[in-house]
């Protein structure tokens, strides 16, 4: 009996201790766990302990994009490059490129497989069309031309689209009907537009009837009577119609929700039927209203004639016309959609395209190859060849930019003292011109700009062109101001020299543009492993940038991308073991690179090591004096020293900061080290240990002629290793973790230590806890390991502090 209670209580003790240890360690476990997670996994509820980063195959979500200004991804640009972005946009994505936005965590490496499928259930490849101009297409176009003028007001202007070929027409038509935020085939837009229509048309018609037939004071009784009758008559006639309208307004709301953002064709059919039948009903009622007018109103009553005309018009404008317009629009959409489905008779030869994301080394090789075909001057190419390495291949554009800017500035420096301002002026001028070309989308004028600029124009030719661009873009004031500034330069140099500069810069920006394209393609093109023959290449854009959207661009051979808008796309990435490892540790790499953690680490180690060494030296000296020497004021000084342990360092923050300012030590290593090299606790600890060393040893040493100094270092210190190691460890850890003091006395990253660096990183990173936890982990790892190895000294030191 007694034994069983004893073992029960033993189990209870173990349970308590394990539960306690669990509570103590769970934050660490959670920290390490979070540090491996992908960004999308951080914010999940309930929290999960697993991460997909450890998997060798990851599925990802894709979303088909409509129009993009892609071809080159703007996300790869630095701020400096962004200023010149006009020069970078050469061509927009061709009509043959299908853009799939990656709606998931960034993929950095591995083999990508993308499936272009018929629908979500089957694995059969999607179908397409070869753009034939068949009779069906002609029928659609005829219908479009017929209805063109009678679309609802909102869409009338934008629906004026090119009809050159089926794919072009469809691309533009779907853009307006399905893609834009006010696209009418979206459920929400369609149902709310129609609801407003149904709801408003009836009530506004009723108001107009009411207003038109309001009895005036001058009216005689007979007219009043007629008006009253007429009003009742009309209300009786339209009452069923108004009922239908309000019924419709209620019914249409049910289409707000559905599995897809766009309305389905079966639903659309019902809606069209609803609109059309209401339209029929309305037309009938119009007849009735006319009849009622004819019956009641005699043609000589001008007032009532006008009123009846008003009412009739109102009926047309508020009810019949809008219904007709919507009916046309929806019918056309229905036909187009139907046609779009029917015409796709070809089928992709296989559904899946598979390719590998290039490593930096591969990108480097490809870029070197492509450099040969790049149209620019040989010195530029040579410079890039010399300076490009697999390690900096992602920053190749910066290399080129720096080089070209340097070249340009050195040319200018020959003439101008403020070369920076001048070069900026010329760059601005060219950017203005290029932006204009982009904005006004007039190919004729674009060609004119290109031709003029490439044929070494005279200065006045250039200014004329520039002025014209200014007028066309509506920014003539800015452009004129720029011209004036350029004219000022003529005080220093002549027209030809200035024009040379402008042409040179023009050429340079073109090079930057073409190089950016080459670079982006080299970086983002997948090394195809297998693909259907219809596909030419696949690009993975945006991978150079940590933040920002990523997308896959699938370039087809002579097949318009619009035919694949109706496909179901899905993808997955596969990783080799090494790639999986790289994925797993990616957060650590990203966090490390996001802030100067290398510098922080070096600082921390340096400061902690130096502080510790100095502390041990000085503490041993002081401890020796207190332990083995007899001198004036010994007890008083020792008590004074011990009393300082009661003074909280935080209290002395202000005066110490001022002292350091006077010394000029703010933002130096001195400020981090010197105030902390004396630790009274270490002096006390070592003194206690020195006291245990017998005095006989000291006397013997004295007889052997050893000086006090040598005795201390040769005999006392080696004999007191445990106490000294304890003191050193406590100081090292304290120095490693110091925060408030470092925060106050450092201003630049060069002298910050890990805790302050981490705090800085956290305020910059915000709530991306996977990166934060990775940074926290690698900033505490050395200390934790040190502790685990040497914990007996720690425990000894701490225990010692409790026993007086």
């Amino acid at each position: 009996m007694k034994n069983s209670t004893k073992s029960l209580s033993q189990i209870f003790i173990y349970l308590l201790i394990i539960a306690g240890a669990f509570v103590m360690l769970i934050p660490f476990a959670w920290m390490v766990d979070t540090s491996f997670k992908a960004s999308s996994e951080v914010s999940t509820w309930p929290p999960k302990w697993t991460t997909k980063n450890a998997k060798s195959k990851i599925d990802f979500q894709l979303q088909i994009q409509y129009r993009t200004s892609g071809g080159l991804d703007l996300s790869t640009l630095s701020l400096d490059q962004f200023k010149n972005f006009a020069s970078l946009i050469g061509e927009t994505t061709g009509a043959n490129t299908l853009v799939l936005k990656l709606n998931d965590d960034t993929i950095r490496r591995g083999t990508i497989t993308i499936g272009i499928l018929q629908d979500s259930d089957s694995a059969s490849p999607d179908d397409y069309s070869l753009d034939p101009k068949t009779n069906e297409y002609q029928a659609i176009i005829d219908k479009y031309q017929e209805y063109k003028t009678t679309f609802p007001e909102t869409y009338k202007e934008s629906l004026d689209v090119e009809t050159g070929s089926p794919s072009v027409f469809l691309e533009n038509f779907f853009d307006i009907s399905e893609y834009r935020s006010d696209a009418f085939a979206r459920r929400i837009v369609l149902s709310s537009s129609l609801e407003t229509l149904f709801f408003k048309s009836g009530s506004s018609f009723k108001n107009i009837v009411e207003n038109s037939l309001r009895p005036f004071p001058i009216d005689d009784d007979e007219t009043k009577q007629i008006k009253e009758n007429l009003k009742n008559e009309i209300n009786d006639i339209v009452a069923p119609l108004l009922n239908i309208l309000s019924q419709n307004a209620t019914d249409i709301r049910t289409y707000r929700r559905g599995s897809d953002v766009l309305i389905e064709l079966t639903e659309l059919d019902k809606i069209i039927h609803m609109v059309e039948s209401t339209l029929e009903e309305a037309k009938d009622k119009k007849e009735d209203i006319h009849k009622a007018f004819d019956d009641i109103v005699s043609s000589d009553n001008r007032q009532l004639m006008i009123a009846s005309k008003n009412i009739s018009n109102a009926f047309d404008n508020n009810i019949i016309t809008p219904l007709q317009e919507w009916s046309n629009l929806l019918n056309l959409y229905y036909f187009v959609k139907d046609y779009y489905k029917d015409i796709q008779t070809e089928v992709l030869s296989s559904a899946f395209v598979k390719g590998k994301i290039r490593t930096d080394k591969e990108v480097y090789q490809v870029l070197l190859d492509k450099l040969e075909k790049w149209e620019s001057s040989e010195p530029v190419k040579q410079y890039i060849r010399n300076n490009l390495k697999p390690g900096n291949v992602r920053k190749a554009q910066n290399i080129l930019l720096t080089y070209l800017n340097g070249e340009f500035n050195s040319e200018i420096e020959e003439y101008f003292s403020d070369s920076k301002e001048t070069s900026e002026l010329i760059s601005d001028t060219i950017n203005l011109l290029k932006s204009t070309a982009l904005i006004i989308e007039d190919s004729e004028f674009n060609n004119k700009i290109r031709d003029t600029m490439s044929n070494n124009p005279k200065y006045d030719e250039f200014t004329k062109l520039f002025q014209e661009a200014g007028n066309r873009s509506g920014q003539s004031v800015v452009f004129s101001a720029n011209i004036n500034k350029l004219d000022n330069l003529l005080n220093v140099i002549n027209e030809n020299t200035l024009m040379n500069f402008i042409s040179m810069r023009w050429k340079q920006t073109s090079w930057i543009g073409t190089f950016a394209k080459i670079h982006s393609d080299a970086l983002s093109e997948l090394e195809i492993i297998e693909k259907p023959e219809e596909i030419e290449a696949v690009y993975y854009r945006g991978r150079n940038n940590i933040a920002g959207t990523k997308s896959f661009e699938i370039k087809f051979k002579d097949i318009a991308a619009v035919w694949f808008r109706d496909s179901f796309v899905k993808g997955f990435a596969e990783f080799t073991f090494l790639e999986t490892m790289a994925n797993l540790w990616q957060n650590y790499v990203s966090a490390w690179n996001a802030a100067p953690f290398g510098r922080y680490y070096a600082n921390t180690v340096f400061v902690a090591v130096v502080t510790t060494i100095l502390e041990i030296i000085f503490a041993s000296m002081a401890a020796f004096a207190f332990a083995k020497m007899d001198f004036f004021g010994k007890n008083f000084i020792f008590t004074l020293f011990l009393a300082t342990m009661m003074v909280p360092g935080e209290v002395l923050l202000v005066p110490n900061f001022i002292t350091l300012t006077v010394f000029g030590w703010i933002d130096t290593y001195y400020a981090l080290i010197v105030p902390w090299v004396i630790s009274v606790f270490a002096i006390f600890l070592i003194r206690q240990h020195f006291m245990t060393i017998p005095n006989e040893l000291y006397d013997a040493a004295k007889i052997d002629g050893l000086s006090k100094w040598k005795f201390l270092w040769r005999i006392m210190v080696p004999l007191s290793k445990p106490a000294i190691i304890t003191g050193a460890l406590l100081k090292f850890v304290g120095s490693w973790n110091a925060f408030l003091w470092v925060l106050i006395v450092t201003k630049s990253p060069e002298y910050r230590t890990l805790p302050v660096g981490l705090q800085n990183f956290s305020s910059a990173t915000g709530t991306e806890y996977n990166f934060l936890m990775a940074a926290a982990t690698f900033s505490i790892i050395p200390v934790v390991i040190l502790f685990l190895v040497t914990q007996k000294y720690f425990i000894a030191g701490i225990s010692r502090s409790g026993l007086k």
């Binding site: 003790i13 308590l16 201790i17 306690g20 240890a21 103590m24 360690l25 769970i26 959670w30 920290m31 914010s43 929290p47 000085f618 000296m621 002081a622 020796f624 004096a625 083995k628 020497m629 007899d630 001198f631 020293f641 300082t644 003074v647 909280p648 935080e650 209290v651 002395l652 923050l653 202000v654 005066p655 110490n656 900061f657 001022i658 002292t659 105030p675 090299v677 004396i678 005095n695 000291y698 006397d699 006090k708 973790n737 925060f739 408030l740 805790p755 981490l758 956290s762 926290a776 982990t777 900033s779 505490i780 200390v783 502790f787 914990q791 701490i798 225990s799 409790g802 026993l803 007086k804």
Partner: protein, 444 residues
């Protein structure tokens, strides 16, 4: 070694010793002794760091710390008198309880002479409570004031006149019970019996919204009251468990100790994530018990408790290790003797462990209190460089000094605030030493 006093050799050794101590003198002199004085001087000057000139302005900085930005409805002296009256009154009432209890015993009959003063105190107490409930005049009232003074006079007289009697002996021998009774009575008084609230706690609750420094003091004290007892209690339990004969003891000790050696910045970041109201682990664990998500880091009322949880967790291992060392220094033979006498676990703890551990407990109390008064880094990290989410709910004394000094560069006010913190800590140490010397059982 043993030189003759004041001989030539002695002075030479003194010179040598001072050479050995030279580095310590220099660094301690520049970074501890000089600033203590300089800080005091600075606290009497008006000095905005950006402007070059500083000038003496006496106690202005200290006055500014306590200046209320708008007046509050409670008078400070009145509140102080009331508080003293409540405390002394409750002590006498507890004594009266012991008096009644002991009069029922057989052998410890109390002396009759105490009955009258106790009854008078009780009468005054009841009168005070009733009148305060009938005329709840918070602001000031002479009538209440005089009753409170009378209460102080009679109960103070009773307490400071060192009487000896059976019931007082019983009371002193049960110091914990007495303490708990007094606290319970006191809390009961100012929460339920006097609902209008006219004591110092109410005063500071009102005043803290009107002065940042009072708010900082209030928050710090609240934090200390929350963190110190829980840290000591949990650490003691952990130490007692670790002191049992268990396997893998050092492994468990490591688990408890690790947080202490890791950077407070990293740990606070981890806790920021643990306390996240949407996806945090804490709220997930709470959801197992059907508790709704708590906005730990966003609500005023949770600010100080959150900080307390983080620091208790971090310093638990340290305190437990000190306790463990204290426990292991207790001679085993006491326990063997007690076991022979048939003492159970609780009795062993009560009559051996607790008294013999008291020097350690006392030391732990001092250092945890001092450490808790200096709380700063956790707040700075948890609230991303702000003193709490709203309404400066996490402003503590060190944070106040930091804010005045670092953000506003008002060196004079910052020094004054720092000096008050210094005085509080010194005072605490002093009080604890005084009480400690009396109460603590030192092993001879």
């Amino acid at each position: 070694m043993a030189n003759k006093k004041y001989s030539k050799k002695y002075w030479r050794e003194t010179f040598q010793a001072y050479l050995f101590l030279l580095p310590s003198f220099i660094v301690l002199g520049i970074f501890i002794f000089w600033p203590i004085g300089f800080s005091l001087v600075l606290s009497f000057f008006k000095w905005d760091y950006t402007s070059v000139d500083r000038y003496f302005n006496g106690l202005e900085n200290y006055k500014e710390l306590f200046r209320l930005s708008y007046p509050i409805s409670l008078n400070f002296i009145y509140a102080t008198v009331n508080t003293i009256a409540y405390i002394l009154g409750t002590i006498i009432l507890v004594r009266f309880l012991y008096y009644i209890a002991s009069s029922f015993t057989k052998y410890y009959k109390p002396s009759r002479k105490f009955l009258l003063p106790y009854l008078i105190t009780l009468f005054l107490w009841i009168t005070m409570i009733i009148s305060k409930n009938i005329w709840p005049e918070e602001v000031f009232s002479w009538y209440h004031f005089i009753i409170a003074l009378a209460l102080i006079a009679i109960s103070g007289g009773l307490i400071f006149k060192k009487n000896k009697d059976e019931h007082l002996n019983i009371m002193r021998s049960r110091s914990w019970t007495t303490l708990i009774l007094v606290i319970l009575f006191f809390v009961f008084t100012f929460t339920i019996l006097v609902p209008s609230g006219d004591d110092l706690v109410t005063y500071f609750t009102l005043a803290k919204e009107s002065s940042d420094f009072i708010k900082a003091t209030y928050n710090t004290i609240y934090y200390v009251l929350l963190a110190v007892p829980s840290q000591i209690a949990i650490a003691l339990v952990v130490a007692l468990l670790l002191n049992k004969k268990i396997k893998l003891r050092s492994l468990f000790r490591t688990a408890y100790f690790i947080p202490f050696v890791t950077s407070v910045v990293a740990l606070s970041l981890v806790w920021q994530w643990m306390f996240n109201d949407q996806f945090g682990l804490i709220n997930y664990f709470l959801s197992w018990f059907g508790i709704d998500k708590i906005a730990w880091l966003k609500e005023e009322q949770w600010t100080i408790p959150t900080i307390a949880i983080v620091s208790v967790w971090q310093h638990l291992g340290y305190t437990a290790v000190i306790f463990l060392a204290g426990l292991q220094s207790i001679d085993r033979s006491y326990y063997e003797a007690a076991r022979v006498d048939g003492a159970n676990n609780w009795q062993q703890f009560k009559y051996i462990t607790w008294p013999l551990l008291s020097p350690t407990t006392f030391f732990v109390l001092i250092i945890t209190m001092i450490g808790s008064f200096k709380v700063f880094s956790q707040i700075f990290i948890l609230y991303q460089g702000f003193p709490g989410p709203v309404n400066q709910s996490g402003l503590t004394l060190v944070y106040y000094v930091f804010e005045k000094f670092y953000n506003e560069q008002r060196m004079g006010v910052a020094s004054a605030g720092a000096y008050i913190l210094f005085l509080i800590i010194l005072g605490l140490t002093f009080i604890q030493f005084r009480i400690g010397r009396k109460r603590i059982h030192y092993e001879s």
